[in-house]
């Protein structure tokens, strides 16, 4: 037993050290590999500890799962990372629920341990909730189903009832150990599935970063409780690590979006009052995967551009000034948003960056925490396009620098640069931390149209005199900006 505990501590320390190395992009790759090595040791040790040869049926399943995982990991595109992480959250939850169920089935009949029956019920409930919730999240993110948040009649009541009854059953199961497990545990599992389904069904596209982080946390909590149930120290400790990581990210995301976890889970969508749900963000999430819808969005963009003929003349005239503004700027900050990813404009932005730097301009990127569909998503997309991570600045680092910037180019970002967050009171984004793009000398907005973002709050930035709007598909407008530079 002493060996078990020492090894467990070593393995968990290995995981912790791996995460420690992830604190810098220079060492992160080794951190990931240290984690993988620790995992390998943990698996090998488990084979040794069970006294079974590695050459057994278990190995076959391990190889099958490992191969599927590698194929998945190799084939997934970076833009699809949110749904990939969501899917793996779901598998993690399901695996924990299955382990606990198998443990229950192989439990000696007269067992009367409260800890086992309490934790197994809990792990089963959390695991199944994580699974069904994650599958709905995947369907939403992939655009396969439930794209719009769905609020059913009595939605909240069903959700609360499912969770309450499940909790009650766990308690009964624990206090009457082993008597009713066969009747109760399947019901707990079913209620868990139901709760996860109802929890995620009514959540909107732009709230996804919060939900994915939360489900990430749940998958760890399920593993940790399952570890307690089957008395496995490594499982309990490592699960706790994952649970904590998910919680930290959930809190960061909530703060960055100015939402409380409660209001997200309750399905309150900020822009709801104007029943035509602010379409920018939502059209974008729809467009993400299906080219057909993408075209529809582009079409819509063209229409709105055609409609722009009736817009104030100042905006049209301003286009003639754009080359001067761009070419005179020395310090440029680019603010990418999810709209850039939807328009697949990363490479166009990279070319813009190269053209700007060829003119000896200083260029930096301002990355808002919620730019994308999951924490840190935008950084990955820009890194994929070949942009150095040293240029990617987070909110706190970049905000003081807007004062000294000659030009800000906004690509597909709306709410995160809306000064209404600071200026207006009582809007859904009031008090939300934003990128102070308005502080720059000039701002060029390359968004698809002038509609408000997910929050439904009109962007005050668009009205300011030093802001020039350049509506349209970023994959087309950004190259036009790049050309303006090359001309000189």
């Amino acid at each position: 037993m002493a060996v078990t505990i020492v090894l467990a501590i070593l393995i968990i320390v290995g995981f912790l050290a791996g995460i420690r190395l992830m604190q810098s992009p220079r060492t992160a790759l080794w951190g990931n590999r240290l984690g993988a090595l620790s995992m390998l040791v943990a698996i090998a040790w488990t084979f040794v500890a069970t006294g079974q040869g590695a050459l057994s049926a278990a190995l076959v399943y391990i190889v099958i799962g490992g191969l599927i995982g590698l194929i998945l990991g190799q084939s997934v595109k970076m833009i699809h990372m949110p749904q990939t992480v969501a899917l793996l959250n779901g598998f993690g939850g399901a695996a924990s629920a299955l382990v606990v169920w198998a443990a229950v089935l192989s439990y000696p009949g007269d067992g009367a341990e409260m800890l086992f029956w309490g934790t197994s019920g809990l792990a089963l409930g959390v695991g199944t909730l994580t699974f069904s919730g994650s599958i709905i999240a995947v369907l939403k993110l992939q655009g396969l189903a439930f794209r719009q948040p769905i609020q059913l009649k009595g939605h909240g009541h069903i959700l609360r009832a499912a969770i309450l009854v499940a909790a009650l059953l766990v308690l009964i199961n624990m206090s009457l150990p082993g008597q009713y497990y066969f009747q109760f545990l399947p019901v707990i599992a079913l209620l868990g599935l139901l709760a996860g389904f109802f929890m995620t069904l009514r959540i909107g596209g732009a709230d996804m970063p919060i939900v994915i982080s939360l489900l990430n946390s749940f998958s760890g909590i399920a593993a940790s409780i399952a570890g307690l149930a089957v008395e496995n120290v490594i499982l309990a400790g490592t699960g706790a690590l994952v649970g904590v990581a998910g919680m930290i990210l959930t809190r960061i995301m909530c703060r960055a979006m100015n939402r409380s976890l409660f209001s997200v889970l309750a399905g309150f969508t900020p822009g709801k009052k104007e029943k035509a749900y602010p379409s920018l963000e939502d059209d974008q999430s729809a467009a993400e995967t299906s080219p057909a819808v993408n075209e529809a969005v582009a079409e819509e963009a063209k229409k709105s551009e055609a409609g722009a003929g009736s817009e104030p003349a100042a905006e049209k005239d301003s286009k003639t000034n754009l080359p001067d503004i761009i070419n005179q700027a020395k310090r440029v900050i680019i603010v990418p948003g999810y709209g850039m990813a939807v328009a697949q404009a990363q490479n166009a932005v990279k070319q813009l960056l190269d053209a700007l730097e060829a003119q000896d301009k200083e260029v930096k990127f301002a990355i808002h925490p919620v730019a994308g569909r999951m924490p840190g998503h935008m950084n990955v997309l820009l890194a994929e396009a070949g942009i150095d991570y040293e240029k990617l600045m987070d909110l706190d680092a970049i905000n003081p620098q807007f004062d000294h910037a000659d030009l800000v180019i906004i690509v597909g970002a709306c709410d995160v640069v809306n000064p209404a967050a600071n200026a207006a009171e009582g809007t859904p984004i009031s008090g939300m931390p934003i990128l102070n793009a308005e502080k720059a000398k000039h701002v060029i907005v390359c968004n698809i149209d002038e509609k408000p973002g997910y929050s439904g709050v009109d962007n005050l930035l668009y009205e300011q005199s030093h802001v020039y709007s350049f509506w349209g598909d970023a994959a087309e407008t950004i190259p036009q900006l790049t050309e303006m530079i090359s001309k000189r």
Partner: protein, 101 residues
């Protein structure tokens, strides 16, 4: 055993909180996919249960084995792929950037 388990669980959570909080937003996506891989640790529970399970329960444990291994392999590999894309030009010494004045 239970006490030891709880102590290790709480220690892991506290240390994890400290270490994870310091991961920069730049790397939050790889952090999450890495956590997917770690949540595949359930595989060791599945192995143990697989060998003790009676005939009827083996299938459940086998399903858990497969799903958990998808997490382990998929999580680590996709994290590896992502982190390889994070390239910086500057050397360590040059990174200390002078903020714009």
């Amino acid at each position: 055993m239970i006490l030891a388990m709880l102590i290790i669980l709480i220690a892991a959570a506290l240390l994890g909180y400290k270490v994870i909080s310091a991961v920069p937003p730049l790397l939050h996506t790889p952090l999450m996919s890495g956590m997917n891989a770690l949540s595949g640790i359930t595989v060791i529970g599945a192995i143990a249960v697989f060998f003790t399970a009676p005939a009827g329960a083996e299938g459940w444990a086998a399903a858990a084995l497969i799903l958990a291994m998808i997490n382990v392999a998929g999580g680590f590999w996709v994290t590896e792929r992502m982190l390889r894309m994070f390239k910086g030009k500057a050397k360590e010494s040059e990174v200390q950037e002078i903020p714009w004045q």
